[in-house]
C-alpha cells in the first residue's frame, strides 16, 4: 500500500468499502513510521473517539525477536480508517486487537497487511466490530508469508455483530503463503446477539439495553485481553456501547 497524491477509487482493493467523500478531505494520509529494534518490546493504544473523520496509516517494522502490541478502539468518527502495514523479521511478534463500534451512517475500517519476512515470527489479529443503524464496518486483512519464512504462526480472528439488519459488515481475510512450514488460522463470522442469552439476562431483571450492553461488552473485550491499558480501552468501549444502544 503506497500513499500517492492520487485519491484511490473503489477499484483499489484496500479502499473498496471506504467513504470517498470523507477520504477526499483527508488525502493524502500521512505515513506514521514505527521501527522496533531487535529484541525490543513496544506497545501502542489508539483510541479514535472524536466525531470527525480520521484516517491513519501505520507502517511498522519489527526487528528480530521484537514485539509490538497494537490496540485500536474506533468508536465515534463519521469515517474512521486505520491501515497498518507490518513487516516481521525472524522471531518477531505482532499483536493487533481492534474494536470498531459504529452507528448512524458511520463507516469504519481496519486494513492490515502483515508480512512475515523471515522465519519463526508470530502474529495475531483479533478484530471485533459492533454495528447499528446504517453503519458500515470492514476488516481487510492480508497476511503474507515470504519464501523461507518457515515456522510462521499467523492468526486472524474476525467477528462482527449486527444490531440492526440495515448495518453492513465486510470481512476479507487473505493469505499469500510462499513458505512450507506455516500455521495460519483464520476465522470470520458475522452475526447477531444470541436471543436466548438476551432473554436469560432480561429474565433476571436487566433492561434490554443493559442486557445487550453486557453481552457486547464481553464481545468487544476479546480485542483488548492482556493489553497495556486494557481497563481504559474497555471503559471507553462501554461508554460508546451505552451511547449506541
Amino acid at each position: 500500500m503506497t500513499d500517492t497524491l492520487t485519491l484511490p477509487t473503489r477499484k483499489d482493493e484496500d479502499f473498496r468499502y471506504s467513504d470517498f467523500d470523507a477520504l477526499a478531505g483527508l488525502w493524502p494520509i500521512a505515513r506514521e513510521e514505527i521501527v522496533v529494534a531487535a529484541g525490543a518490546e513496544e506497545s501502542l493504544q489508539i483510541v479514535e473517539d472524536g466525531a470527525s473523520a480520521v484516517a491513519r496509516h501505520l507502517v511498522i517494522t519489527l526487528g528480530a525477536r521484537a514485539k509490538f502490541d497494537l490496540r485500536v478502539l474506533s468508536s465515534g468518527p463519521t469515517y474512521g480508517r486505520v491501515a497498518v502495514d507490518v513487516r516481521l523479521a525472524e522471531g518477531a511478534d505482532f499483536t493487533l486487537g481492534a474494536a470498531q463500534l459504529a452507528t448512524g451512517s458511520e463507516t469504519l475500517e481496519v486494513v492490515t497487511k502483515v508480512v512475515h519476512a523471515e522465519k519463526d515470527a508470530t502474529s495475531s489479529q483479533i478484530v471485533r466490530t459492533v454495528l447499528a443503524g446504517h453503519a458500515v464496518g470492514s476488516y481487510l486483512g492480508c497476511i503474507g508469508v515470504e519464501r523461507g519464512a518457515d515456522g510462521t504462526d499467523a492468526e486472524q480472528s474476525v467477528r462482527a455483530m449486527l444490531l440492526d439488519r440495515t448495518a453492513t459488515a465486510n470481512a476479507r481475510p487473505e493469505l499469500e503463503i510462499y513458505a512450507d512450514d506455516v500455521k495460519a488460522a483464520h476465522g470470520c463470522a458475522v452475526g447477531e446477539l444470541d436471543a436466548n442469552g438476551l432473554f436469560y439476562l432480561m429474565s433476571r431483571g436487566l433492561t434490554p439495553p443493559e442486557a445487550k450492553r453486557l453481552m457486547l461488552q464481553a464481545f468487544v473485550a476479546e480485542a483488548f485481553t492482556g493489553a497495556p491499558g486494557e481497563n481504559m480501552l474497555n471503559e471507553a468501549a462501554i461508554a460508546r456501547l451505552e451511547a449506541i444502544l
Partner: protein
Amino acid sequence: MTMLKIDNLQANVADKPILKGLSLTINPGEIHAIMGPNGAGKSTLGYTLGGRPGYDVTGGSVDFLGQDLLELEPHERAAAGLFLGFQYPVEIPGVSFVQFLREAANAQRKGRGEEPLSGGEFLKLAREKAGLLRMDMDMLKRPVNVGFSGGEKKRAEMVQMGILDPKLAILDETDSGLDIDALRICGEGINSIMRAPDKAVLLITHYQRLLDYVKPDFVHVLAAGRIVKSGGPELALQLEEEGYEAVVA
C-alpha cells in the same frame, strides 16, 4: 392478595396452540407442582409467564400481585418479583456471574425505587447464597454457566434465585440433570429461600423425586395444554406409580 391467578390462558408457539385454556391460582405461602408428560406444555407455561419472545398469548389473563403480568416486559416481571428457573440455563461467554448478578440485582432494585447494593454488600449476599447451595464463590467469578456441569448450572440458578429474592419462583425442571446429592442440595435451597408466608413456588417437573425434598401443597397434572387434574401431594405419588396415561384418562 392472590400471588398468581392464571385464567383460561392460551398461548401459541410458532402459530401452534400449546396452552389451551389453562387456569391456576397460587396464594402466598403455597408450593404448587405441575407435572405432565412430554409435550404437555409445561415449559411453554414457564416461558409464557416469563415473557419469552416467540411465546404468543392468544387469550386469557394472568394477574401477578394485582398487576397484569402479560403487559410487562421480561425485566419488569423480574422487578415485580417473578423468577424463572431455566431447564437449560444459558451460557454467556465473557460475562462473569458476579458482574451480571450485581447488575441484575441493582436493575431490579432501581425498578422498585430502591438504593443499589454496594460492591461489598453484594459480595456478602452472594457468598451467603452460594454457601447455601454449597457452591464455591470462585465459580461465581467465572463466565455465566460456561463450562459448568448440568448440576452446577442448576445450583447456580438457585444461587441467583437466592440473591434476587423473588416473590414467586417458577422452576422449570430444576431436577433434570441432577445427581442425588445435587437434587437434595437444590431441594434444600428452594426450601430455605422460598418457604415463607409471603412467597410461592411453581415447580414444573416430570418426576416425583424433587417433591421428596420440596413438599408441594398442591399437585396439578398438565396434559395437552390444560390442567386436567389437581390434588395434594398424594397425586404425585399416584402418578409415579400408575403413570400419566392412567391418571389422565
